[in-house]
């Protein structure tokens, strides 16, 4: 079956612009996660959704970051007023239930110039 997909695969934006990153999880997966991975580093947990609800948003780096999920399906990570330090690969994952094995998408590579 189809895996987790993310779009766009690459995004180059100017400092100060807003960007939206999209994640389509595996159908039927109730949990969805967002991570950030800077070059050569490990994954930084940002937020997770159980259904359409995000119980804990404390992992988001700043108030410029927000995320939503609708219909227990698609999720969007929005970064407002992008900064150069936001440049990274943003990975999305989904799992059948919150503590189950996570399936990752290919990521969106964001470059802020």
């Amino acid at each position: 079956g189809a895996g987790v997909s993310q779009s766009p695969s690459n995004k180059v934006t100017e400092k100060g612009k807003d960007v939206e990153l999209r994640c389509d999880p595996i159908s039927g997966h109730t949990a969805l996660y967002w991570y950030r991975q800077r070059l050569g580093q490990g994954l930084e947990f940002l937020i997770y959704f159980q259904g359409n609800s995000a119980p804990d948003k404390s992992g988001l780096p700043s108030d410029r970051f927000s995320a939503e999920r609708t219909g227990e399906s698609v999720s969007t990570l929005t970064i407002q007023r992008t900064q150069q330090e936001d440049s990274a690969v943003y990975l999305c994952a989904s799992s059948l239930r919150v503590f189950d094995e996570q399936y990752f998408g290919p990521g969106t590579r964001l470059t802020v110039t």
Binding site: V4, Y33, Y35, Q41, G42, L43, E44, F45, Y48, P55, D56, G59, L91, A93, V98, F99, E101, Q102, Y103, F104, G105, P106, G107
Partner: protein, 110 residues
């Protein structure tokens, strides 16, 4: 949150068994341990998960001692294609956060 510590890198040769140990001294009672593998330009892929003692699947084994303050991922007979970054993480079921450390870069040589 239980922080994990792993070796930064390891080298091995094809056909050898590789053991990667992860320390998680502050693991909580309800937390469990998961390992992921990541190839360049790809998202991580689940390898194995466990709570205590030993877990084995078709690709790896996971050894967890009684105090659960560490865990060891064992990869039998590695091949060149096992060259990747391996992440140990502790899943905090209390509040749910998954903390990926810097991972261990395994390089398998011919």
């Amino acid at each position: 949150l239980a922080k994990t510590t792993q070796p930064i890198s390891m080298d091995s040769y094809e056909g050898q068994e590789v053991n990667i140990t992860c320390s998680h001294n502050n693991i909580a009672t309800n937390d469990y341990i998961t390992w992921y593998q990541q190839f360049p330009s790809q998202g991580p892929r689940f390898i194995i998960q466990g709570y205590k003692t030993k877990v084995t699947n078709e690709v790896a084994s996971l050894f967890i001692p009684a105090d659960r303050k560490s865990s060891t991922l064992s990869l039998p007979r590695v091949s060149l294609s096992d060259t990747a970054v391996y992440y140990c993480l502790v899943v905090d079921t209390g509040g749910f956060k998954t903390i990926f450390g810097a991972g261990t870069r395994l390089f398998v040589k011919a």
